[in-house]
Amino acid sequence: MESKLRKLKTEYLGRTIVTVFGISIIVLTLAILAFLGYKGGATFLTHGHSLASFLFSSKWDPAQAGQVGTVGSAVFIVGTLEVAALALLIAAPFSLAVAIVISDLAPRVGRRFLRPVIEVFVGIPSVVYGWLGLTVLVPLVARIFHLPFGFSVLSAGLVLAVMIFPTITSVAADALQATPPESKEASYALGSTRWQMIRRVALRYGRTGILTGIVLGLARACGEALAVAMVIGQSNSFAHGLLSPTNTITAVITSSMGNTVNGSEYNDALWSLAFLLLLISLVFIVVIRFIGRQREDS
């Protein structure tokens, strides 16, 4: 009996506490889903808009209080996808290049110097990237292309590209470095040059890892709020090209949420956008897991 009591103090108490905290993480995750789902559902359940009019219409004019407006969010959805895709197009080739340098061309410099530099890139806060975009990039874009303002898809894409570059690079470099040395040696023994080895062996081994990095970068680009909000121009119309302003899901939420009344159609429409953003990030998480599983299988 006494030993049971002793064990209560030396084992069971601690085990219970850590288990409770461990399980609380599940509860927290579910709570986020539930709360945002509940708030986001009001647009459709309380205000009676159809899902199609939310997703595919571009008429965004939600009412502030009591009245009925329109909640078409196509502009924001398309805008988010546009800037994220542009950022990826710009960042991915550069990331891959630097990842190859880190893993195979100059591993010592990579480990000692390039990796720390990339960590510093990651550490720079997103508002600072936004600040840079606003003070340097936006005026520059305006001057180069003779625009009245430089707020544009291009500016947002460039800012995001710099932000996701370190993510893709470090994940891709990890993947390339995981290439089994025997395979590399075998390739060299067959007379490959270094580039032939990289192209035919390392890039092939690292394929899934590089893909994971790209999806991670895309996820970050879609979810980034402040930096994009500062340079996208926030005009509620589709972009006519790279140089025209538009709006994104994150930008409209950040800039409007504070100016709306709780429970109004406007406010609920913003919560629906937030829930949509949550769903988009969940899709990315599932995709990354799927890619990871494929890698384990092969």
């Binding site: 850590v18 461990g22 609380s24 530099v117 510093v120 840079l132 580039w195 032939q196 949420m257």
Partner: protein, 317 residues
């Protein structure tokens, strides 16, 4: 210039390959070597460009910050960024008070008690999900639960708790990795001496993991300093503080955790989007420089500490 030379050499090899079939093999090799060199030059140049880009960004930030700096703006009065600096450090500190115990407990659970069943898979998935959620989502959740449901105004505590949601996964994962990487013999030895699993975990494994966990905490702090999207709708975008009032229950006291508080990052956002002061740009420049210095100091010291601990662990080589 080098590229031009390379291209010339390339066409030369091509021509020589046409001259005879016995030469074809040689030409093939020459071409492969040339491609190898060209690619090496191109890729290394790109890598160098990014280093230059980072250097430019840092220098530009510091230059703009230094140019904007005046004693007035650096002060702890209503004009200066001292208040925001204090808020940033205070908020992150409060947040870590919550993050660290929860994160370490969750990490211990994952490494020692979760087993291999479905529970660990679910907790892992949740941690992964939490850590890859956009921070604006976490901020909105905090706004909903900590501000709207409790009918309170924007406050420091809500900001700290929302930030904790973002950092708990980081600490949990660091702790789990650190515990798992402790040599198995430590565990066996402790159990062999009659300690329980909990005693072993806390007194032996956790102690051996302290350096790596500290590195993780510093990283979490660095991330907290720069976070803004989480805080805009939880901690608020302004603060009215009197630095002569140190009574924690007073609403103008810097120590009060239920007052609204804008951190440096949020301050930059507010100034750049709705700043109405004449020198809003100047203050934003200074805030950005101060923030980046703060973040860099933390991330570099985390790196330095990490390296030092690694060396110590591997026998001081």
């Amino acid at each position: 210039m080098t590229l031009l030379l390379l291209r010339a050499a390339h066409s030369a090899t091509r021509q020589s390959s046409k001259s005879g079939s016995s030469n074809a093999g040689m030409a093939h090799i020459r071409r492969a070597k040339l491609a190898d060199k060209t690619i090496t030059v191109i890729l290394s140049t790109i890598a160098a460009l990014f280093v230059v880009l980072l250097a430019l960004i840092t220098v530009y930030l510091l230059y703009k910050g230094a140019r904007a700096a005046t004693p007035d703006l650096l002060s702890f009065t209503g004009f200066g960024v001292g208040i925001q600096l204090f808020n940033t450090v205070y908020l992150v500190f409060l947040s870590l008070l919550v993050t660290v115990p929860i994160g370490i407990c969750a990490g211990i659970f994952l490494a020692e008690y979760a087993g291999k069943g479905p529970i660990i898979a679910v907790v892992r998935t949740c941690i992964e999900t939490l850590s890859s959620l956009p921070s604006i989502i976490v901020g909105l959740f905090g706004f909903l639960v900590l501000i709207q449901l409790t009918h309170s105004k924007w406050n420091l505590l809500a900001g700290a708790l929302a930030l904790a949601i973002l950092n708990v996964p980081l600490i949990a994962r660091t702790t789990e990795d650190a515990l798992r990487s402790v040599d198995r013999s430590y565990y066996d030895g402790s159990i062999g001496l009659g300690a329980t699993r909990w005693q072993t975990t806390v007194r032996i494994l956790l102690r051996a993991s302290v350096p790596r966990i500290i590195t993780g905490i510093i990283l979490a702090a660095g991330r907290g300093f720069g976070e803004a999207a989480v805080l805009i709708y939880t901690a608020g975008m302004n603060s009215a503080v009197n630095f002569n009032n140190w009574d924690p229950t007073s609403i103008t006291s810097p120590l009060n955790i239920l007052r609204p508080a804008d951190t440096l990052a949020v301050h930059i956002w507010a100034l750049k989007t709705e700043g109405i002061m004449a020198n809003a740009n100047q203050i934003a420049d200074l805030s950005a420089a101060v923030l980046v210095v703060l973040v860099l100091v933390f991330s570099l010291s985390a790196r330095w500490l990490g390296n030092r601990f690694d060396k110590k662990m591997s026998g001081g080589k």
